[in-house]
Amino acid sequence: MIAGMIARRKPWVRGVLPGFGLTMGTTLLFISLVVLLPLAALLSQAASPGWAEFWRIISSERAVATYKLTLSSALIASIFNLFLGLLLAWILTRYEFWGRGLLDAMVDLPFALPTAVAGLSLTYLLGPNGWFGQWLQALGITVVYTQLGIISAMIFTSTPFVVRAVQPVLEDMDTAAEEAAASLGASPWQIFSGIILPLLVPALLAGFALAFARSLGEFGAIIFIAGNLPYHTEITALLIMIRLEEYHYAAAAAIASVVLAAALVMLFVINLLQGWAYRQR
């Protein structure tokens, strides 16, 4: 990718604006400092106790339980957000209504809010005596201190990703194609599923990937609502935190590297899917 960019901009073909060397150099420096260097430190720290110890740490029963919980919760939350995000983006682009600007701004609130605040308010709302919690309790549903709580916190913090990925695509969409389909006899559902949805697939995938990655790493919002019971409601990020507090840096780094690998695999798969979806056009 970087090699391609450099090759495309041959030094003897001067553009209108100078400064490729300076901007590219700064970019590479910061990427190295902010992304690559910490990752390298993490991996070297994780590898320090040796392979057998590394494997023992990351495959311990407690660690595996956190992976399962974190991954399944993030998956469920992201799938939920796929629908919620599409719905929100749809409302914001397709209809004129009073307060649309306000709603549009509120979508970003989970970005702006400190996640601890989000966690606290969710715990309060969904707790056994909270506004929603008391009704759910009456129905026999307990949210706080269960996986349901973790999922709700993840949903809250990752909703904007899907909305902001889909919204611009919906805004740019030519409504004439929908009118053409209608004039050919298509029902509203046929228009949505056959004409609109296929064009949204790449954006939905991108939003899903970002929401999933965010949910994997979410910490602040979850620890208040999860209960943090080992083997049951303990997420991977919390286990890393616990290992750190025990001054067991190698174990923390080892578990963190698993999360890192999961996030990378996820991004890679989504990128492949997106490439495939673009080629379908």
Binding site: D174, A177, A182, S183, L184, G185, A186, R281
Partner: protein, 357 residues
């Protein structure tokens, strides 16, 4: 293509406004069955809105739209059986050309849906008709604008529409392709003979290919009739100046004779009994220029400028009576035969003055 009897479109007292803006104002119209009709007007005249009302893409605030006598005013677009072609093609860009054309057939409820081989046969026949069978497996993005518009037309025809509606179909194409497609559309219409309406702001396009022209301005119908009719007998100054060039001179009418100052321009149409000031519109090619020594005319002018424009010559003439400057067109040969030069005085015969009170 359509096996049904040909169908006419009637609009009675149709009105539409967007907010406070009256887009269409009490429209009464009838489009003849099986003909190719043009809706012609400047931008903002309401012609596209009218077409969208007929398609069912907009609903009228008042009035009734009928297809062959049947009231369709409240029929949803998907039930109206209209083929609609958009200015910017509106193809489904994630589908191949084949799937685009097949779309209307594939989405039919299974009771009415033709079998796969039948769909295939019909789509390929349509692609042959629009001369794009070779592109069946291509995506729309791989085709040129003219080709895309032909695909859009094939897609609209696939469901055997009762009427075909085209919204500035060639508006986004360059001049050469536009001219080709015009001729091709005229030919195609002769083959399929579906009642067809197309919207255009290009008067030449409307005059060239339509059987029937409706001229609109500011939400009203200015005139409707055959191309010959609207061109030769414009109902009002707007139609006269919108269809081709026409220049106004002020004149007055006395006992059926048109005077410009004290010089005679010609005689008015027999029906006009007005006395006094009138506006006379003259087309550049309706002016016959005679040498100064000719005595057939009393209307004199000074030749101010000569411009050679391809095959013809345009003269700028200053009328002696009113000092108005009007253009006259003639062939190169005719101009050479006149032996006139700039600043000469010439005599004019106006073949067809259009007089409006």
């Amino acid at each position: 293509m359509s096996g049904d009897a040909l169908l006419s479109i009637e609009l009675s007292d149709v009105g539409k406004h967007f907010g406070r803006f009256q887009v269409l104002d009490h429209i009464h119209l009838r489009f003849p069955a099986g003909r190719l009709s043009a809706l012609l007007g400047p931008s903002g005249s309401g012609k596209t809105t009218l077409l969208r009302l007929i398609a069912g893409l907009e609903s009228p605030d008042q009035g009734v739209i009928r297809f062959a006598g049947e009231d369709v005013s409240h029929l949803h677009v998907s039930r109206r059986q209209v083929g609609f072609v958009f200015q910017h093609y509106a193809l489904f860009k994630h589908m191949t050309v084949f799937d685009n054309v097949a779309y209307g057939l594939k989405i039919k409820p299974w009771r009415e849906r033709p079998s796969k081989p039948v769909i295939r046969k019909r789509v390929m026949a349509l692609l042959e008709l629009v001369q794009l069978a070779w592109a069946a497996k291509h995506l729309p993005a791989q085709l040129s604008g003219g080709q895309r518009q032909r695909i859009a037309l094939a897609r609209a025809l696939a469901v055997e529409p009762r009427v075909l509606l085209l919204d500035e179909p060639f508006g986004a194409l360059d001049a050469q392709v536009r001219a080709q497609l015009r001729a091709w559309l005229k030919q195609l219409h002769r083959e399929i003979a579906v009642t067809t309406l197309f919207v255009t702001h290009d008067q030449e396009e409307a005059l060239e290919i339509s059987d029937h022209i409706v001229i609109m301005n500011q939400g009203r119908i200015e005139q409707s009739g055959s191309p010959q009719q609207v061109y030769d007998q414009p109902a009002n100054p707007f139609v006269c100046t919108f269809l081709g060039q026409a220049h106004q001179i002020s004149a007055h009418l006395r006992q059926g004779v048109i005077y410009c100052g004290d010089q005679v321009v010609g005689t008015a149409a027999p029906g006009l009994s007005h006395e006094g000031a009138v506006r006379v519109y003259i087309r550049p090619h309706d002016i016959e220029v005679l040498p100064p020594d000719d005595t057939r005319s009393a209307l004199t002018a000074t030749l101010e400028q000569i411009a050679m424009i391809g095959p013809y010559v345009r003269l700028a003439l200053r009328l002696h009576a009113t000092q108005a400057l009007i253009p006259a067109d003639m062939t190169q040969a005719r101009f050479a035969a006149l032996h006139i030069a700039a600043d000469n005085t010439v005599q004019l015969v106006i073949r067809k003055p259009h007089v409006f009170v």
